[in-house]
Symmetry: C2
Amino acid sequence: MALDFLKFTDENSVRVRATDLHRQVSAILRAVNVPGDHAETTAKILTKASLMAVDSHGVGNAVRYAESIESGQYTVPQKVDVISESDTTALLTCGDGLGFVAAHRAMEMSIEKAKAHGVGMATVRDGHHIGMVGYYPLMAIEQNMIGMAVTNASPAMRPALGAAPRLGTNPIAFGAPAGEERPFLLDMATTTVASGKLGLARRLGVPIPVGWAVTAEGQPLTHPPETRGEHWSQNPLGNTREQGAHKGYGLAVMVDILAGVLSGGGFGTQLTGGENMSWTMAIDISKFRPLDEFKSMMDEMIRELHATPAEPGEERVLVAGDPEWDAEEERSAKGVPLHNSQYDEMRACAQRLNAELFI
Amino acid sequence: MALDFLKFTDENSVRVRATDLHRQVSAILRAVNVPGDHAETTAKILTKASLMAVDSHGVGNAVRYAESIESGQYTVPQKVDVISESDTTALLTCGDGLGFVAAHRAMEMSIEKAKAHGVGMATVRDGHHIGMVGYYPLMAIEQNMIGMAVTNASPAMRPALGAAPRLGTNPIAFGAPAGEERPFLLDMATTTVASGKLGLARRLGVPIPVGWAVTAEGQPLTHPPETRGEHWSQNPLGNTREQGAHKGYGLAVMVDILAGVLSGGGFGTQLTGGENMSWTMAIDISKFRPLDEFKSMMDEMIRELHATPAEPGEERVLVAGDPEWDAEEERSAKGVPLHNSQYDEMRACAQRLNAELFI
């Protein structure tokens, strides 16, 4: 399987307890003047991503956020303000600071508004990276709600029929609670794969499958270049017109509209690397029908899907969220694996900043 | 291009004025006891689909709806009732009648609620086919709102890693208004292609591309069977695990949750052929930021996308909705082309039912 190169081994990684990772992230951020509550929110989200094996969006990123703060790309302390608000809607500014802080507040407000009125929705401008987008629907799920979140980014994806990048990998996350089964949690880039997978393949020197990226001439790229530019792009989900590339592309534009245009923060080509606008929504299920009936129908559906006969060569059919819930169970018990280089990098960063060492 | 077999020619089709098609559909439906307002709503939506060249969901379908009514599969006159309601949410029953009538009411209510509170959302149970899903976001666009709609169906799509159909083609439609440019309008099945394309290929006896459908053994099907069953499935958007099949599959489950589980009407495997639950949402843009600023940023984005260099062999980059707006312009001027067989079928149906002939 093409994704095997992502695996951790006892040789290339060390296991660290999630609580220690949380403390380490928080300490690194506080060392570059991030207020305590903002550092805690960011550490919570990054640690959850690491627990759920969304490693590209995990604790290791604390190092680059600290660097972005030191270089002045991020404003810290940031001021998260409400620019406009109604019964069910809010437009926030992230104050050019840590994206996590404003996106977290956006989902909190979405949930509050949904509790009061049925649905709540918020957009965030002047923002940066919000990490694992699936985290925000999880906040809604914990309140027995349906949650959705999207975030945009500077260009990486070509439009269908196009030869140059014009859209971010613009992920969509959607989640809903179940009863006895684990929640449904979809978290997907609208490109064939998230860009983190290309970065990792690059780092490990392994080729990527045909269909993930192309040159400006439309030729498949098995070794994508280091830097972004007009000379290559990631493919939208679907890859070719015949196989539905206009769908992945269309979904990416939907994300730009909700996160970038509705907020006024800007769409793909208006953003520089590291700028990300976002959008969250919460739906109070009990406003539609009794929650327990919803949850038991979710259970039935998830069981039906799990019971589907697998295609030849595959063990079983999964439901979105399964790999993440499995990972969280395993990593909560055994610790979170960090690649040796990432572990060293986090420690070096903490030491350089005179932050306390927890890992 | 694989889709060329869908083209109309002067030999295989006749052109009919949209107003006459509307009258003909309405007359056919009234002839099987559909109340006048319900017939008019259905005729309006079907005619719009035909104008926009979404022919698989166009006026020709009036014949099969009339047959479903005659056979008792549809209840007519239907009673569309509100089962539960809040400031921003509504659960409707379609009364087992024409899906169009309840989905149209659901989007009307979503728009009313969005006007009052910022966001409005409605789900519909006990429903049938709602036609071109993109029609409902268009209703929101006309009110300067963002619109979204989804609908589920009985199984046609296999889950990623699965070998048998468990989900409908579960389309997603999303639209937003622009200023000087035409609105953005995405309307996509979460399978590689809508099932209508397989039906047409079957009717014309032409093969379909590898990637659209597979046998239970995972082998590509170039001539998909007439009847649905465990022996073959459509692929989710993405096709293979490596190319993102879990994304198309995940989006299809999202649709089942919003349309089927939130409404209580049922998810894929609980539905029989012809049953469809649906969900609509409207977002009042002006609650977030001034409408004219939103629209001019939409214009900028659409122009940027159109200006993307095309991949080799392609003329230009499109934005979702372009083919439909182009078709509407052309067909409004020259009439809607109907395949000869469809034209004959509609006339024969009208004559059999003693409905007035308009085409």
